[in-house]
Subunit: 668 residues, 3 copies
């Protein structure tokens, strides 16, 4: 995946087992005609690969691989571990995960397994080895996907006995003695002290809320179990299929495990992008959802592209791209005509190496009968295939302009995202609805509305060279993260609650921001959470809501904005900024614009609908709104327009080669 | 029940076991004084009939029967199987049904049994036989009721081990081989393939949604279990009590099993009519519920009268009629004065042979202490008894005018209702809140607002002779139904999603409307569901919402209305009409009025409050609104006013002998 | 606690086990400096007192006691039974309570025990005896608290097998024969008759609602189990620590058990007052919650002070007083500056002998990390300690003016509160959201807005001497209560549903108001419940909503207000008033003002924000509003202003010595 001609690839998800064998070759030929180069297969095929215990049947899959390879397609092979067959579940009924209410999560759909079950892990290894042995050396197999969508259907956290036992071992490994655990968790609080590691219980079904330290360690353990499960497959694939990329297809808005940790074992991070379906789950409000009904949230896709490019260490794919209406949201409209094209271009603009559509042909049976494919259930061509073809042609047209490798080029702005911090406020929000992900996304949107291109990095990443760093939600600040902030040479903006908990989930001895106190000479002496509709106005015309902290400035810092009673809200000390509350959208934009300008970056207001992304020499401009938009202020006179123009129609895309690109890139 | 003088009967539900024996004779005498002729008893009396295992005690019931019969009352005897006694449950704890969340549904109220439990079925047979043997030949026992309100409290579907085992057998009977089952369900989709019938699981507690084909067969199985349970009792009653009518008292808005199938074993269908209680569950919106607070929805009762007249093959009773406030809705107001009279007359207008009030005297204990009776707990006369008396007198007054047997007279309009199609969209709505029952009811209301009288029929019923047939919600179209539509000689109007699934719940190979393609030369190439508040306007001033289909016309059809982008919405081909979306109320009325007129039927706008029903020579007009209404446009100059007049007060009723009745009837 | 100088005491809750031993002495010294005299300890310390089975370790607690006593503090010692340690639960897993859905309520927080478990009761006795033996005779131990917050986290009702067995025994004791039980409950209703006491089931997981008589007895049993559990501890403490006060810290808005019954074994009732947290749970509506965001509901605290003063037979403490933001409400704002002072003065005005703040120092770990203390986690002084100091000084200033013992002085107005009546309408509301507590609170608020001081008493209490008695919600009226009403010499106002059920939960044979018929010559012949938004207007400009009764006047009574159709709503007979519906706020105030004036009491409209309480010679006036208030109409020219003045700022308090106090007191 390095030659310039093939930098941006199109693919598709295909399920040969769903179709008569005699259509495979024709399907493969038509994929190539559409302009696809990659095809992902075998994701859910365990019951066909091993219909009965130990009886492996690869004949059909051999023939499918040959049909696809024969047409010139590159194959992404999958391990089928997301859907263990019924006979396996019947042999090990306790391999099922257990919900927080104590109910088994049973066979009949997918992801019906417990990450901590030793027996299932062994079978997952066994089937992975079988597939890897069979296809690992095949010339057309260029990549592997492990399992499918870890965390989908909230399947990461399980309250099974297998989980409890594994958790006890994990805790012994971490703490050594049960006294150390009791001290770290503060178990004395309500006589919760344990006398033995094996006495540990899972934090569900408790009379009232469990100890947050207990839950936070349980969430860390849970995340580590995903890492362990994934690594077991990766190790086998590396043995039998060296030199191929290994990936996993992550989901949007899933934060149940630490994606950075899982991806550390992978070559590339991929994710499944369903703009319309996710709008229902993550849209700002009803008016917003109605406005972007057929487009998706203008920042949701970009956020995840940037997130997973960071998770993948610079390499990112879209493994499943929505091609039409889906089946799983509360309501499932059709995208605007042209929207599939837009989403695809946007993914490439954010560094995707591959965009793979889900799926080739709409299924006539099963749970996803209403999920569109590139083609309809009767085989006729659907809108998705038409738009994919257009993109394929356009990619050829701009291939020469792709002069810089996005994967290694830094953006001027970095955003620090920390999964454990998101867990910490899920566990102890102190304000109903306090979501670290939502706050992070609010910062991201504000930066995008100011025309910025953004990198997302984990805490502890090297921050030198970034003009601006934002850390919207960083509850726990470890040693490495503290050092990285200290070493950063740009502006740093911290959101509320930064450094408010130690790794043990205890309050820092000298109060928050704890480890950030050197950077931020202040002390948070009281916090309060506020009902919806209540706001604290600041003397610069802004406001915070939902969360408000009482801060004492302890050193050399400037109060840029204060509440009516004089309490500091926007505090600056040298190049570090702290916001002592949850900012309103408009005020957050004010604060960030101020800091971007201070850092020497150019800002441009994009409004609600239009978004821009600079990547290498190129600038990609998209219109998410249901009406035309004028993007002329985003295109300089000297820029070379490669695709589209400044008059963006609905679902409009413009791609320009920037005259000023070389200069701008130096900023970062 | 055939002589003219006794065509419309009044009855009451009575629980002698709730009262001292010395009041029975007096109660019976007063029933007759009120004008009642029928009395239903023994419905929940198992613990008195068999207080201890095997010790049958009929003495008290003998005496109760004699007290009632002695006063000249006709008795409807019940089997007591809806309330098995505690000692029986203690003997067979696994006879309890299991909820979807896996919880037992325990003793302590009623309907605490599993339809699939072989042991309970045996005991139900045993107690049925005991009662049938004892009272089957009694001269005053004129009819039987099996059990009570199948499906009430959502008791049809059970996730017990008994259900699972019975389901496995049912599947083996249906499919023969597990490969056939796997193919029909498309189990390959997510490796859900079964290796053995006994491996089948119930579709609850799955990680995410189960296979819709799996659920649909489970729902069919569930319905069949009700049929089996009911038939077991019917067979015994027929043996010991030949010549008596057998019925079951169905509920309103219950669709969990196929009522046509259950009623195939009965002589007459009866139902329990609670207009105010059901308004809370089924009312259109809050304003509607406030407006009809003391009347009930103006179409809910009529819909069920027509439905159960169809279910009963032309014969329908109201077994329980609300006589005052009830106890089980969220809020329980009193009916308008006169409303009990209105409901009673309306039932007879829709073909009821009997209207039986629930209950004689309000209970001072138990779950229904707040449920009014015809009399109060202290024995004093309540409003219900007064209004029943009025009706009794009025029935005598109009007896001579009842010239045509409603039960065999067809209405000009037929509506096709299919229970499995309702299940199909419950299982896979693709749009939150998509309800086949709601769509069906919307069509029914629109027809009624246009002054129509309607028959409700199952798919496959003979449709010849109907001027207009509507099929609002017919997802699956079997062979018989397709033939019936082909043979129909009137206008046919299909709602969206018609023919969109095969019996297997698979998408038709050539896309919807599948089996209806000959009648409807079109192809549904994409569907989308829309958020509340989003509508697709049509170029004739109408609109659809919630659901919108992208249709390609494939043959000789006229697009009567299209969306703004030209997509067809109202398509006509010959005498068949297809609506490619969920119509707004007003537009649906426009479309139906157009088709009614095309069929030569007269329409009249009745507005919100007034409703009219033609039956034989009579026309009954009722006012559901909380204000006076003018019904003069519904009464021709030549009509003979028998009861009331055109100035309808609140709860007003007018019954006229139509001059034009003979002519009008010929239309159908 | 009798000398004048020490009548109003301040205390604090302290957890020495949470802190290093070397800070204890300093903490104690600072407590005294703040002005605190009492300290409560050892509440949750079981895992430290008995770290392993049978190994009692009192050394640390001895040293903590000495540190506190050495500073001159009086100690309130606790039994630690609210938090049994994990090793105990592991030994008796069935000691856990069971939720209504059948799920265990597990270890990991607190209150994880079943009141009916014999084994746990034995262990609770054992640890109580250990602590009582050790500290019972200590000179500084002046009082005891049993357990902690019975009923918190809805832990009173358990559906365990232990509960079922104990319930069966309780029923046998109550009814003697199972026939008597069947008759009392009306079990014949749905064949629910039991053949044996051991066949009784708990009223959860039933198919539909269980028999209300069954549930009511289960709730009585449940309450009795709390009495039994508490008494077991009290008996031991009295043996080993004679002469000390024994209390329990009750909660606000908890009605799951009969507090009068539990407190019958105690010397004083205490409660835990969290004004801001409870506003979220109990506030009138969103606007109300926003307005009183930082103050709490103006009547909630007073209501509970008066309630628990009644529950405690005249003696009441606030054991836990909110000192700042808490952690457990949906949103947790900070109180207004001065609000902690206001709450403290208000408690004393309502007869508190002690106000004890929760807690000394905010915890850095555990579930309540966000719960403010008097001091911050780092040990620095927080707002709470500052305001407590102010109060301590003010208490000295007014000590001489405390001339009358509030605990024995009657208010002019009495309100009858009956826990079983609250249960009865929880069990069978007949109107969604019908809450006896809400109705009671509405009466209380109306009286307070009219400037009244109120006593709360149980049914059966002596009512002679009260100018006005209100009984807002008295479903069941026993013999003693009926006699007390008959003997009362003031005005009596009954809310709807009074006397509507017998002790068995049956309808009175001659209809409601049953036992009150002599006092109220009327008969309730029908009740109806009304949807939100529906009201029944009265001819005096008032209205009822939610609940409306059809009343027939049967004797010498005056209809003061009737509905539009003439149905009586406000009925007066001699000195008894009956309201046949749920009154609107304004109309209730009209009715009560009329009756207060009729009784010769002075009324004064206080508005939303200001409240007044007369106690002995003193009048305390407080401002709950977020703006200044003028209280001049509440201060007579001759009154002596001791604290504050008529211009009440936010959180303002004025305390005056009333010139007319002696005269006014005679009214009662």
């Amino acid at each position: 995946m390095s030659s310039k001609a093939t930098r941006s690839h199109l693919g598709v998800c295909y399920y040969p087992e769903h179709w008569p064998e005699d259509v495979w070759a024709g399907d493969a030929r038509r994929m190539v005609e559409v302009g696809l180069t990659h095809v992902r297969i075998a994701e859910f095929a365990w019951s066909r690969i091993e219909p009965r215990p130990g009886e492996i049947e690869f004949g059909w899959l051999d023939r499918a691989v040959e049909a696809l390879a024969g047409a010139g397609l590159k194959i992404i092979m999958c391990t089928p571990t997301a859907t263990p067959p019924k006979w396996l579940v019947d042999r090990m009924p306790d391999m099922l995960a257990v919900a927080a209410d104590g109910a088994e999560r049973r066979f009949g759909s997918r992801r019906h397994y417990d990450f901590s079950h030793a027996g299932y892990l062994e079978d997952a290894r066994r089937i992975t080895r079988a597939v890897a042995e069979r296809f690992g050396q095949h010339a057309s197999v260029v990549a592997w996907q492990t399992d499918n969508e870890y965390g989908c259907h909230e399947t990461t956290v399980s309250y099974s006995e297998a989980a409890r036992q594994a958790f006890a071992i994990w805790l012994r490994d971490k703490y050594g003695t049960v006294d150390a655990l009791n001290a770290a968790w503060g178990n004395v609080f309500w006589s919760m002290e344990l006398h033995d590691f094996d006495a540990v219980a899972l934090p569900n079904l408790t009379v009232t809320e469990p100890n947050p330290a207990h839950v936070l360690d349980f969430r860390r353990f849970t995340s580590d179990q995903v890492v362990r499960f994934n690594r077991a497959q990766v190790d086998i694939i590396r043995e039998f299929s060296p030199g191929r990329d290994i990936t996993h297809n992550f989901m949007g808005a899933v934060t149940d495990f630490d994606h950075f940790d899982v991806a550390a074992d992978l070559d590339v991070a991929s994710w499944d992008s369903y703009p319309l379906g996710m709008l229902e789950r993550f849209g700002r409000d009803e008016a917003w959802r109605n406005w972007y009904l057929r487009a998706g949230d203008p920042d949701f896709q970009a956020f995840h592209h940037d997130l997973y490019r960071g998770v993948g260490g610079g390499r990112m794919w879209v493994m499943e791209q929505q091609p039409g209406p889906v089946n799983w949201a509360a309501w499932n409209p059709a995208p605007h005509p042209g929207m599939v094209r837009l989403w695809t271009h946007e993914a490439f603009a954010h560094g995707a190496e591959l965009v793979s559509y889900f799926r080739w042909r709409q299924a006539p049976f099963g749970q996803e009968q209403f999920h569109a494919g590139l083609n309809r259930p009767d085989g006729s061509t659907d809108v998705g295939a038409e738009e994919a073809s257009v993109v394929a042609g356009e990619l050829q047209a701009i291939a020469d302009a792709q002069t810089v490798d996005d994967a290694t080029q830094r953006s001027p702005v970095a955003m620090v995202v920390d999964y454990p911090s998101i867990w910490a406020t899920e566990i102890q929000p102190q304000a109903r609805g306090y979501s670290g992900l939502a706050l992070t996304f609010q910062f991201y949107r504000a930066l995008r509305r100011l025309g910025q291109s953004i990198d997302i990095v984990p805490p502890g990443a090297d921050l030198t060279g970034y003009a601006v760093v934002v850390a919207p939600h960083l509850i726990m600040v470890g040693e490495a993260a503290a050092q990285a902030f200290a070493a950063a040479d740009g502006q740093i903006v911290f959101g509320p609650r930064a450094g408010s908990r130690l790794e043990t989930h205890q309050v820092p001895p000298k109060l928050p921001p704890g480890p950030l106190s050197k950077l931020l000479p202040l002390r948070v002496v009281r916090v309060e959470s506020l009902r919806p509709g209540v706001r604290v106005a600041t003397d610069d015309g802004g406001a915070v809501h939902h969360w408000f902290e009482h801060v004492e400035v302890t050193g050399d810092a400037k109060v840029r904005a204060a509440a009516h009673d004089g309490k500091p809200v926007w505090i600056e000390a040298d190049r570090a900024t702290y916001l002592a509350g949850w900012p309103d959208d408009a005020w957050l934009e004010t604060v960030l614009a101020d800091r971007l300008i201070a850092a020497g970056l150019a800002i441009v207001e994009t409004g609600d609908d239009v978004r821009v992304r600079d990547h290498g020499a190129l600038r990609t401009i998209v219109n998410y709104g249901p009406r035309e938009a004028d993007a002329s202020r985003l295109i300089a006179a000297a820029d070379e327009v490669l695709i589209g123009d400044a008059d963006l129609g609905v679902a409009g895309v413009a791609i320009v080669r920037r005259a000023a690109a070389a200069g701008k890139a130096q900023t970062s």
